[in-house]
Symmetry: C2
Subunit: 224 residues, 2 copies
Amino acid sequence: MRGDATPRLREALEDDILAGRLKPGQRLDEVGLAERFGVSRTPIREALIQLAASGMVEIRPRRGAYVALLGPRQLIESFELMSELEAACGRLAARRMTPEDRTALEVAHADCAHAVSCGDIETYYIENARFHAAIYAATANRTLAAEALRHQRLLQPYRRLQLRVPRRMDASFAEHQGILDALVTGQGDLAAERLRAHVLVQGERFLTLLTALQDEAEALARAG
Amino acid sequence: MRGDATPRLREALEDDILAGRLKPGQRLDEVGLAERFGVSRTPIREALIQLAASGMVEIRPRRGAYVALLGPRQLIESFELMSELEAACGRLAARRMTPEDRTALEVAHADCAHAVSCGDIETYYIENARFHAAIYAATANRTLAAEALRHQRLLQPYRRLQLRVPRRMDASFAEHQGILDALVTGQGDLAAERLRAHVLVQGERFLTLLTALQDEAEALARAG
DNA sequence: GTCAATAATCATGTATGCAAGATCGCAAGC
DNA sequence: GCTTGCGATCTTGCATACATGATTATTGAC
């Protein structure tokens, strides 16, 4: 075999996690994955180590690898970190955006608008990520953009749930409009503030949802 | 051997890099390291992969691992990212600092003061990192604090050079005082602004130093 | 003397083997 | 009936082996 099994495996596993085919908390058995992908354990292990380093997988020594499962505390912290990263991106993007960046942003925003008008949550989920990624790209700071993207991906499985909250998609889109306005008029601090609030509210809504689900589960447990 | 070779190797290599025993750009030969540490290539590879994921090492496929060498562009970007992370930490720390956090900060600041009064650059370099780490810890957000710490370590080899700029240590300490004042008075936005400027100026001074060194090297190349 | 092509060498990437620790099941005791 | 101790099984972590691509050295031509 040609020598590029590890990156291929890493991407395949990451895709599986992001697409929800591998669910948070699920065990990742080395031999099982090796058989499934037709390789030995070695490149599997190396891919898992890389995913663990990026936070998508958790490796417990001598106890195996698991798809990362963020608890409430970690979720709060991650959304807060994300809100700060996005705010930073917004401030820099407002100052440095090129005409191409602006076009890309407006296209992504229009695609979000289309998803909203169709009521298509799944599409909005994807286009929303693109809109934010367009902001990262406009910072002209690849290091910062890469960090923002990495954390976006980390939270992606949880955001997906979050958008199912009633009317959240419309509210999110309205916030995008305000962010875009601030960005294209060069108001970096305003864009930062709006992005911070936009991401934080997502985190808070998500936690509300999470605790509701937990209460529900507990109620079921008591009833059953 | 007992089953913790990989983390031990990772820490040893990271220490070597942070302490300057392994220099940016230096090749990390797997068999050489394996012999030096008395282990096989497998745990060496796993440690290198982890270090690559955290940015301290660069792995070029089929071409080996090297101690990360940041170019001017990456340095600018990294310092800018760091300035935003520190600003975020400052804002949150000003709001959430516990009395213990405040004490730790003041102790770290006093230790910096002592290093300044002794003119001890090497000690200041260490205490400075502690002062900043105390701010991260005061955010009550371990995820954010861990990210800030990781990037602090990434830039540490370069900061060390930077402090040798004349009078930089005194200026840095004066800035710390302003940051501390803003933090203990709960002025989050002010603390954020001062931290951002503090880190950015380090980056800029460092780049000045870097280009000066490069010019010097070129002049020598022309002369020789 | 320099450059290019080719062969030898070497390092990386992957596969496989093996030992130690973790998990699971079963049985014995309370 | 529940818990605890012991043993079997399984998985991980590291070592070793091998193949392929990169690197270097050598040789021949210009």
